[in-house]
Every structure is written in structure tokens, then in C-alpha cells.
């Protein structure tokens, strides 16, 4: 694969041909349809796309926490650096409720969620819920677990930790809750942090603080981050590499600068055009992408973006699914417009 060539090292996590099917009343929905990407140590991969494109399902399938209705296939290879027993393990082959995947969840790969409001249970104190993660994976000793939890709380910038430790989630503000969530996720020093829209529910100033915090913790702990978001601003701020998802497929993947300076896919271009810019003409309306995302149920083989694409080629784009084209070493795109640039890479 093209993107792999750029990185000499082995990826920490390699997702290959991931497919998630959901049985619906009206047919089988191909929610995720052949997704490949790699996550490297200390780097941040952004997974960007609009609601319903399958980005959350993709991220959750890594630790097998999707609902039972999801039928998942493909391989997700985990190459743990710190534990050779977990090297080369296909995470999808593990039983979703089994011991082995549970020993990875929260310890090697942890996750933070969009709604810090509901992601904590209102019934128990923040301290109780953070300690639970530590006591599951690290130490059975209550005192030691509490010490680690307090240390983590101070690391994420929560002051007066001893008092905060015994408070309930509703006594925390949204930003504080997300900080607590991050401290819980990082309490066992994971190798990969999956952040599923971590700042969507927060207001803008808090967003910036939380992102800054994630960045500084990444520098400190060296974990890789998979950042799922629909916000290109966050991508620009945080990521090393970007995968743009549309209708269950990654339509374009490149380093972050390349995506912003040299977008190829009409969808990526549309997304970038729909972003407000400083110094832009205020009286002009923002561009938007016409139409809405179709439901991927019983779709004929065609480009999923066909109906909304300004550059579509009749008889080509709606006749078969778009091939993956290599633009440069680190840049791939799924679009017929570039089919003639590199021959023989049609997939």
C-alpha cells in the first residue's frame, strides 16, 4: 500500500478490508465497506466524515464494542510494542466478550467518547469510575489505585483532585468531565487512544483546551491517537495524517498538509470549500455539498458520491465502484477522475 511505503516502521495497528454489515428490515446495510488504514506510534490519524459515514463504527470495531447486530469482517492487526504476546494479533478474531480482548480494552487501546455527560454513569463518583479501570488492569490494591487516579486527574489539569475524586459526574462541567474521561482512558498508559468526536459536545474555548491537553499528553506518553471527527478545523490542529470517509469507504487519504493544499476527491474539495475562512467574503454564502448521503442498502456497484458530485462522469462513475488511485507515496484517492494518472493500481 502506498501510504505504508512512506513509513519505514511497522504500524501499531493495521486495519485491512474492514467491512461492517448491519441487517436492517429493508436489507443489509453496508455501513463500512472495505476500509484500510494504519496507525503509527506517537502519530495521530484523523478519520473525518459526515454523520452516518461509518467512522464511529470503524473506530469502535477496533476494540469490538459495536452492537451485536453489526457483522464485522476483515482483519485488524495489532502489533503491541510493549507486549510480545499481543504482537500480530488479529483483534477481530477474538470473542467480543472474551478475556483477551477485555485485557486489551482500556489497558492497551482505550477510548474516549463524544458525550462526556452520559459516558460516565451518574450513579458513581468520578473517582470510583476511574479507579475501576485501574483496578481492572493494573493493581488490585485500592490505595495504590487511588494514588494513580489522583495523579492522572492532576495530569489532565483538574485542580483540587482529592475533592473532585469524590464528586459525581453532574458536579463536573462538560470540559472537566471530558478531562476526567481522558484521565480514565490514559490511566493504564495505553498504546493507542481512540477519540470518538471528543470535543463535539464542548464549547469552542473548552474544545481548544481539551485538544491542547490531548496533544501534550500524547507528547508525554507517546501513544498513537485515532481521532474521529467531522470538524476539519480539529483535523488541521491535531492530525499527522487524514482519512476522509464517505459512505463506508475511505475516499481520500493523505498527510494533513497534502489534504488541505492538494485535495483530489470532489468530496474532500467540497468539505474544504464549506469551511468558513478568515478574511473570506462575508456577504458570500458558504458553499455546501448539495444533496444528502444515500443509505448504503442494496447499492449497485458505483461511486457512493455520484449523485452529489459536480465532476461525475456518466456511464463510468455509476457503473462500477471507484478504484483506489495512488497520487503520490502518501496520497491515495478513490475517484475515476484520476484513473489515468497511475495505471495498474485499479483495485
Amino acid at each position: 500500500m502506498a501510504t505504508q511505503a512512506a513509513h519505514k516502521e511497522q504500524p501499531l495497528l493495521s486495519v485491512q478490508d474492514l467491512k461492517i454489515k448491519i441487517q436492517m428490515e429493508s436489507g443489509i446495510m453496508n455501513a463500512v465497506d472495505g476500509v484500510d488504514f494504519n496507525i503509527y506510534k506517537g502519530k495521530t490519524l484523523g478519520l473525518v466524515g459526515e454523520s452516518g459515514c461509518g467512522k464511529s463504527l470503524t473506530s469502535r470495531s477496533i476494540i469490538s464494542i459495536n452492537p451485536k447486530e453489526c457483522e464485522t469482517s476483515g482483519t485488524i492487526t495489532y502489533n503491541s510494542e510493549s507486549e510480545s504476546a499481543l504482537n500480530g494479533l488479529n483483534l477481530l478474531s477474538l470473542k467480543p466478550t472474551g478475556k483477551q480482548i477485555r485485557s486489551i480494552r482500556g489497558r492497551k487501546i482505550s477510548m474516549i467518547f463524544q458525550e462526556p455527560m452520559t459516558a460516565f454513569s451518574p450513579m458513581y463518583t468520578i473517582g470510583n469510575q476511574i479507579m475501576e479501570a485501574i483496578r481492572t488492569h493494573q493493581t488490585k490494591d485500592k490505595k495504590e489505585a487511588k494514588r494513580i487516579a489522583l495523579e492522572m486527574l492532576s495530569k489532565v489539569g483538574i485542580s483540587d483532585q482529592a475533592k473532585r475524586f469524590d464528586q459525581y459526574p453532574h458536579e463536573f462541567s462538560g470540559g472537566m468531565r471530558q478531562r476526567a474521561m481522558i484521565s480514565m482512558a490514559l490511566s493504564c498508559n495505553p498504546e493507542i487512544l481512540i477519540a470518538d468526536e471528543p470535543t463535539t459536545a464542548l464549547d469552542v474555548t473548552i474544545q481548544a483546551q481539551v485538544l491542547e491537553l490531548m496533544k501534550s499528553l500524547q507528547a508525554e506518553f507517546g501513544m498513537a491517537i485515532l481521532l474521529v471527527t467531522h470538524d476539519l478545523g480539529i483535523i488541521a490542529e491535531m492530525c499527522d495524517e487524514v482519512a476522509v470517509m464517505y459512505l463506508g469507504k475511505i475516499v481520500e487519504q493523505a498527510p494533513v498538509k497534502e489534504i488541505f493544499n492538494n485535495p483530489k476527491h470532489p468530496y474532500t474539495k467540497g468539505l474544504l470549500r464549506s469551511m468558513p475562512r478568515l478574511g473570506g467574503n462575508k456577504s458570500k454564502r458558504l458553499d455546501s455539498i448539495e444533496g444528502s448521503v444515500p443509505m448504503p442498502i442494496n447499492m449497485p456497484p458505483m461511486c457512493g458520491f455520484y449523485d452529489r458530485c459536480k465532476d461525475r462522469i456518466e456511464g463510468v462513475c455509476n457503473a462500477q465502484s471507484a478504484p483506489k488511485i495512488t497520487i503520490s507515496d502518501e496520497h491515495t484517492v478513490r475517484c475515476f477522475l484520476y484513473a489515468d494518472q497511475r495505471e495498474g493500481e485499479v483495485q
Binding site: G106, S110, A133
Partner: protein, 332 residues
């Protein structure tokens, strides 16, 4: 918290006074009074009472006074002497009648209630976790049947079956030879045998409801993000189930606990009549029918009091269970 409880108790006083008046008024509403129903009963056995006799009886019982005067006299006695009046039917003070039935009523009610929670909560959890499985359909179907079947019908069916299989319909709470016997192991054993049918019959209707409520609550809770968070932390499914969804689903159920207080006091009326159980329910029923006004009034008053008290207990329980409400108390 303490202040809150005091305030609630003070607020309850005018409510109870108002209820007591309404209760007294309602008991007076039906045409006739105890004397006329007594006269009717006498005439049925061939003993006709004259108008003069009836007036005399009314004067003796104080029934010829205006309603508000009767009410104040009743209330005065209750407040000053703890005297709830006299039961005409039983020819005893009201409190003596209630005391006589209290023990067995409590036994039947509490055992029924325990049955109800012990059976319903696990089934509710099971049917939610295994939603749309064969087990779920089986228990859900059963609980719909349980909800739709009138209790007394079930009581009659079980009595019939018990008679057919064991040669004994297990009427009442004791076999005849034990009714007036002093307490002994055999009497307790006899009581337990006789409790099976009432507990199943009275317990089942509430159980069916509770299974549905518990299942619904659990389904809500099982899909909450905090369950996904717990899973992402690496907890096992069992750890998650009991720590998060079950704990949260119990809140609304435990908080309604207080409301069952008044039904503990009377027990199930119609079923008790069908099964001939010596508990408060049928006593109250007869008091209302026979216009035994002080006995009926006392029943209704105590039930109202228990409802008010039960609501308070529910609120306190909820405050104790739900950290969010608890902090609000701490704040005030």
C-alpha cells in the same frame, strides 16, 4: 436533608386534615346510615324495628347530630385519646378490630411483596438482556397473561386445582383445627401451606407489572453510553450488568416502594374475600358495605396517612439512591 424532612412532615399535616374531612364526608354520602342497614338486616331475619326504636338507636350512637359535629367529636377523640371510635358491627373499639387482623395481614402482605420483588427483578433483567430470545418471549407472554388475568379468577382456579390434586382447597390461612389453637410449629407449618395460593395470586399480578417495568428500564439503561464506556474499560459483561444498568434501573422501582405501604396495611381485598383470608381487606369491605362508619373511616384515614407517609419515604429513598438528588439536598 433533615430540614427537608421536617418541612415535608409539616406540609403533610394540612393534607391529612383535609383528607380526614373528605373521608368522613364521603362515608356519610350514601343514603341511610348504620341504623338503617342494621334495621334492614334485622327485618331480613323477621325482626321489624319501629321508627322510635331506630331514632333511639341513632341518638345513642350520636348519629342524629349534624355531620360537622360528628366529625369534630371523632377528631377530638382521636387527637386527645387516640380513640378512633366504636365499631358497630363488631361491637368493639375500632382499634381492637384493626389490631386483631393486623398480624396476619402484615405476614401475608410482606411475604407477597418479597415474592413479588424476588421473582420480578431477576426476570426483568433476564428478559432485557436476552431481548427477543425464546426466554424473553416466554416470560413476556407469561407476564402479559398475568397482567390480564383477574386475581380472583386465578384464585378460584388454584383453589380448584388444589382441591382436585390434594383434596383440600386450602381456604383461609389455617386449617379448622388450628384457627384457635395456640402457636406451635405445626400451626406455622399449616400457615405456610395455606399461604402458597394467596402469595402466588396476590403476588403474581404485581409481579407481571414489575417485570414489564424492570424490562423497560433495563433496555433503556443497557443502551446508555456509560455501558459502552464500561465495556471500553475492559470490564466483563457481568460486572457491567450489575454495576451500571441494574443499579440505575432499580432507582425508579425502589422509589415506588413507599407507595405500597397502604396496600401492605389492607392486603388484597377481593382475593382475600375469595380465599376467605382473615386480613384487613375484607374487614374494610364489610365496614364500607354495612356503613360501620367509624371503622370504615379509620381504615380510609390510615390508608391516606400511609399514602402520604409512603410518598415521603419514596422521596427519601430516591434521594438516598440518586446522587444527583442527594447533592441538591446537600446544597439547600
Amino acid at each position: 436533608m433533615f430540614q427537608y424532612i421536617i418541612r415535608r412532615i409539616l406540609l403533610a399535616i394540612p393534607v391529612v386534615v383535609l383528607i380526614s374531612f373528605i373521608v368522613f364526608y364521603i362515608i356519610q354520602l350514601p343514603p341511610g346510615d348504620y341504623v338503617s342497614s342494621y334495621a334492614a338486616k334485622m327485618s331480613a331475619s323477621g325482626d321489624i324495628m319501629s321508627q322510635a326504636e331506630m331514632d333511639q338507636m341513632r341518638a345513642n350512637l350520636g348519629l342524629d347530630r349534624p355531620i360537622y359535629e360528628q366529625y369534630f367529636m371523632w377528631m377530638k377523640k382521636i387527637i386527645l385519646h387516640g380513640d378512633f371510635g366504636f365499631s358497630f358491627n363488631y361491637n368493639k373499639p375500632v382499634m381492637a378490630v384493626i389490631q386483631q387482623y393486623m398480624g396476619l395481614t402484615l405476614v401475608v402482605s410482606l411475604v407477597t411483596m418479597a415474592f413479588h420483588y424476588i421473582v420480578a427483578i431477576p426476570i426483568g433483567i433476564y428478559t432485557a438482556v436476552k431481548q427477543y430470545s425464546v426466554g424473553d418471549y416466554f416470560f413476556s407472554g407469561l407476564s402479559f397473561i398475568g397482567m390480564a388475568t383477574p386475581n380472583f379468577l386465578l384464585a378460584i382456579i388454584l383453589m380448584f386445582l388444589s382441591y382436585k390434586w390434594f383434596g383440600n382447597p386450602l381456604l383461609g390461612l389455617f386449617s379448622p383445627e388450628y384457627v384457635n389453637a395456640p402457636w406451635s410449629m405445626d400451626k406455622v407449618k399449616d400457615l405456610m401451606q395455606h399461604m402458597v395460593i394467596p402469595v402466588i395470586v396476590i403476588g403474581l399480578s404485581g409481579t407481571a407489572d414489575l417485570v414489564r417495568i424492570m424490562r423497560g428500564q433495563m433496555l433503556d439503561e443497557l443502551n446508555k453510553p456509560n455501558v459502552v464506556t464500561a465495556r471500553a474499560k475492559g470490564l466483563s459483561e457481568m460486572q457491567i450488568l450489575f454495576k451500571y444498568p441494574t443499579r440505575a434501573a432499580l432507582n425508579p422501582i425502589v422509589s415506588t416502594f413507599g407507595w405500597s405501604l397502604s396496600s401492605i396495611f389492607t392486603g388484597a381485598t377481593i382475593t382475600a374475600i375469595v380465599l376467605n383470608l382473615p386480613i384487613q381487606g375484607p374487614v374494610m369491605h364489610n365496614a364500607l358495605l354495612g356503613q360501620d362508619m367509624y371503622l370504615a373511616g379509620t381504615f380510609l384515614l390510615i390508608m391516606a396517612l400511609l399514602t402520604v407517609l409512603g410518598t415521603l419515604i419514596s422521596d427519601i429513598l430516591l434521594a438516598w439512591l440518586d446522587p444527583k438528588i442527594r447533592t441538591e439536598f446537600r446544597g439547600s
